[in-house]
């Protein structure tokens, strides 16, 4: 029962991020979502393995990554997404529509693994869709990074399904890679900011044929 609640709250936070346009609040919302996310392995398979996983995800996703993102946008003047590529209303509608489609598809996917809760696969898929929508619909570089991270959270939810058999080393490796990815993206956002004076990707479009 607790697991369904956690999954629903993760999806709810995802939608809130989608509707938000302030960079600062989006990062905090992401931190909150990762906190709930790191709790879920304890609910599904309580055990030593899950505890280690939870601690590592908390350190990485709740503290390190948001602080890095805040460091990256310390000089950014405009903190608000003035005019996104697609309006906020439409992105939310699109998000809702995509989640509907995902729920439909995942219902007829046959799941060989013993089913913890039938909500897990649809919520993970919808998190990926929301992350993808964020990536596509926004101009601010930081919003795109957050979109990428939300998608990673969705994928992480999938990893839970097979928690016990992937060796710890691989899990750690995946988390480490995501962290380094965000690190590099942060540095590049910094460079964009120095070069163009604003972290928006509008002026990143003159390389074309």
């Amino acid at each position: 029962m607790w697991l369904e609640l956690a999954l629903i709250s993760i999806v709810f936070l995802g939608i809130v991020i989608l509707g938000n346009n302030r960079l600062g609040t989006m990062i905090q919302l992401f931190a909150l979502q990762s906190l709930v996310l790191s709790a879920t392995p304890l609910l599904v398979y309580p055990g030593r393995h899950a505890v280690v996983m939870a601690i590592v995800t908390i350190i990485l996703k709740v503290f390190l990554m948001p602080s890095l993102l805040f460091w990256a946008i310390r000089h950014v003047a405009i903190r608000r997404e003035a005019q996104p590529l697609i309006g906020y209303g439409t992105t939310l509608l699109l998000g809702g529509f995509l989640m509907g489609v995902v729920f439909l598809i995942s219902s007829n996917l046959d799941l060989p693994v013993q089913e913890t809760s039938n909500l897990l696969v649809p919520s993970a898929f919808s998190m990926v869709m929301i992350g993808f929508l964020l990536l596509i619909s926004r101009f601010q570089a930081i919003t795109q990074v957050i979109g990428y991270l939300v998608m990673e959270n969705g994928i992480f939810l999938f990893a839970l399904l097979l928690l016990e058999n992937t060796p710890l080393l691989v899990e750690m490796g995946i988390l480490l890679d995501i962290f380094v990815a965000v690190l590099v993206m942060g540095i590049v956002v910094n460079h964009i900011n120095q070069e163009f004076g604003s972290a928006s990707t509008i002026n990143l479009t003159n390389l074309k044929d």
Partner: protein
């Protein structure tokens, strides 16, 4: 075969040596001359003894390649082509050395090395016994001749001509890829001998033939595919265009013959297709040539015309082979092969003499030349011999090969069924028309360049070229005369090569039937020479007795005739072009000056190149337009790119999962 391998080794070694010694021009030039000479002579010897002894020889190249081992082999067909290749490359090489000697800073050693690379790749093409080695050599021929064409790469026209040649040849090669792979997949191996053993069903043979025509048709220049020829020849230096149109374009015909050797029987329409292509290319080539007023462009179109004649011989030979009429097949193929050798010789001679005219008078425009026979006697007379032989007039080699093609066509007329009769009848008429028009065109060319008065004043200081350039031309002219007056030798060699194509044994009686009429022709020519001697004798005596005076040409009483009033090339060709104007799109621009105080009037006539203007230019523009439109895919927005990936993922999921 050993000589052939030695010549290959010498040529490849010397091409590398020439590049290494590129700094000292004298030495690299010397190496070039010696090595080309030795290489060609050795290859010539190996070709001749294969032709004489009628036995095919083979050798193994130890190249370690995914397609297994590579064998090259000299059979009479390949040897006959080797004959033409070595003779022309040797003589054009010597001429080229003389032609480029006083060229300014240009680094000649690279050019010489490429020249030898062209020889090697051509030799490999005619001796390759494996489809992949054939394709390899074929591509090397294209590449080396491309770099030979763009020798004067400062001008933009030369570069675009080279580019047009490269893409046309390469597009042709792709058709060859499909053709050879179809044959290989059917016969199970890429070796020509294995392919020859397999029996090909008629529809597959038809498809292979069509692909062969498209693939092999680009280099010889069958009418719709010929657009690169008139651009490439004026752009290339003369000895390169001599080699190009003398031998390089014949490699396509060799390819067709090799296909006929491998796949014995073809559907009926293939020979009809060959004959119609021959007719269209022949007549079209000579008509376009009449409309050209630049020497090398004119000669380029004449190459297309002669390729048309060769294809007529090939077509009637193929028809004879399919109707199991050995005589027609043999004579047809012999006529085609002999015309290949003759064309290599007299076209080489014409291009080399055109080159020395351009070198002496610094322009190729016929309408600005005139009266060069007095200042360039050697070049003039050699050009005359070349023109006489290309028009197929009796004393020279063109007549012999056209005579053979005529005979094959008439054999076809007597023995075949109705549709063969119509096609060979049409072919006879078009061959006669080609002969007439070629005579008109070369009378125009020779008359306008060498006879009458010089149309532009600066021809005063034109002087004859060095002996190094004239010697090869004299040798070529001698070959023309030798084949013309004693055809027995060359016709029997060509007959041996033809017997490999028709894969039928030649009995001495059959050889006699083919060659004896030619000997009577030579007899008639001897009688003609005697009558000429008698008449000249009488004239000589009369000149002694009666007075001889000199007076200006009778201008029908016009008081101030100037040299620009002479008949120029364009005016000479005007009556013929007016008869065929709607085929050629012949248009005259400018004309009589208008108004009371007319400005300077000017008149120009030109022939529109149909297949280039209406067929290939539109296709190329359309491809360019299409790609330009589709370039907006890369519009610069990262979000757009991510959307592409997402949509593609969705499409895959729907296609594969649902």
């Amino acid at each position: 075969m050993i000589f052939f391998l030695y010549s290959l080794a010498i040529l490849s070694a010397s091409s590398i040596l020439i590049i290494l010694t590129s700094r000292f021009r004298k030495i690299s030039g010397g190496i070039f001359l010696i090595s080309t000479g030795m290489g060609c002579v050795l290859a010539l010897m190996s070709a001749v003894n294969v032709l004489v002894s009628r036995t095919a020889v083979e050798a193994q190249l130890n190249l370690r390649l995914p397609f297994g081992e590579f064998t090259i082999g000299l059979d009479p067909l390949g040897a006959f082509f080797l004959l033409a290749i070595t003779v022309l490359f040797l003589l054009a090489g010597i001429y080229g050395y003389g032609y480029l000697k006083d060229h300014e800073q240009k680094n000649l050693s690279v050019h010489y090395a490429l020249y030898q690379l062209a020889i090697i790749s051509l030799m490999l093409v005619v001796t390759a016994k494996n489809a992949v080695l054939f394709l390899m050599a074929w591509e090397m021929v294209t590449l080396s001749s491309y770099f030979l064409i763009v020798f004067y790469d400062q001008e933009k026209a030369v570069r675009s001509a080279g580019y047009l040649f490269l893409i046309a040849a390469h597009a042709g090669t792709f058709c060859l890829w499909i053709m050879f792979l179809l044959m290989a997949s059917h016969a199970g191996s890429t070796d020509f001998d294995q392919m020859a053993l397999a029996s090909f069903p008629l529809p597959l043979a038809g498809l292979v033939f069509v692909l062969g025509l498209a693939g092999f048709g680009v280099k010889p220049g069958f009418i719709p595919l010929h657009i690169w020829l008139p651009h490439a020849h004026p752009a290339a230096p003369s000895h390169v265009s001599a080699v190009l149109s003398g031998v390089m374009i014949k490699v396509g015909i060799y390819g067709l013959m090799r296909i006929i050797v491998i796949i014995k029987d073809f559907p009926q329409w293939c020979a009809a297709a060959l004959l119609s292509i021959g007719m269209i290319s022949g007549v079209g080539g000579v008509l376009y040539a009449l409309g050209q007023h630049e020497i090398k462009k004119l000669l380029a179109y004449h190459s297309i015309e002669n390729i048309g004649i060769i294809t007529l011989g090939l077509g009637i030979g193929l028809w004879g082979q399919m109707d199991h009429n050995e005589l027609a097949a043999l004579i047809g193929y012999t006529g085609a092969l002999l015309h290949i050798f003759n064309h290599a010789v007299f076209k080489g001679l014409l291009f080399l003499s055109a080159g020395s005219v351009i070198k002496a008078a610094h322009t190729g425009e016929i309408d600005r030349l005139g009266g060069l026979l007095k200042s360039l006697p050697w070049t003039g007379h050699l050009f005359l011999i070349g023109s006489l032989s290309i028009c197929g007039l009796p004393f020279f080699n063109g007549f012999i090969s056209e005579w053979l093609v005529f005979r094959a066509l008439f054999e076809g007329m007597f023995h075949f069924k109705m549709n063969a009769l119509i096609f060979s009848g049409l072919a006879v008429i078009s061959l006669a028309l080609i002969g007439g028009l070629a005579a008109a065109c070369f009378a125009k060319a020779f008359g306008a360049i060498f006879l009458g008065n010089s149309r532009s004043t600066d021809l005063a200081h034109v002087k004859e070229n060095s002996a190094l350039m004239l010697a090869p031309m004299v040798v070529l002219a001698a070959i023309c005369l030798w084949v013309g007056l004693s055809p027995g030798v060359m016709v029997s060699l060509a007959l041996r090569a033809a017997s490999t194509i028709a894969s039928v044994e030649i009995s001495p009686t059959m050889e006699g039937v083919i060659i004896s009429p030619l000997l009577t022709v030579v007899l008639v020519l001897l009688v003609l020479m005697m009558v000429i001697m008698v008449l000249v004798l009488f004239k000589r005596i009369a000149m002694g007795i009666f007075p001889v005076e000199h007076a200006p040409t009778w201008g029908c009483g016009y008081s101030a005739p100037t040299s620009r009033m002479q008949y120029t090339a364009s005016s000479f060709a005007e009556p013929v072009l007016r008869i065929f104007r709607n085929i050629l799109g012949y248009a005259v621009k400018g004309g009589r000056p208008k108004g009371y105080f007319p400005k300077a009037g000017e008149i120009s006539s030109h022939v529109t190149e149909a297949s280039e203007v209406f067929l290939f230019r539109p296709i190329f523009q359309f491809i360019k337009f299409l790609t330009a439109q589709l370039k907006i895919i890369q519009y610069g927005y990262t979000q757009l790119y991510l959307l592409y990936i997402f949509i593609f993922l969705l499409a895959l999921l729907i296609w594969k999962m649902v």
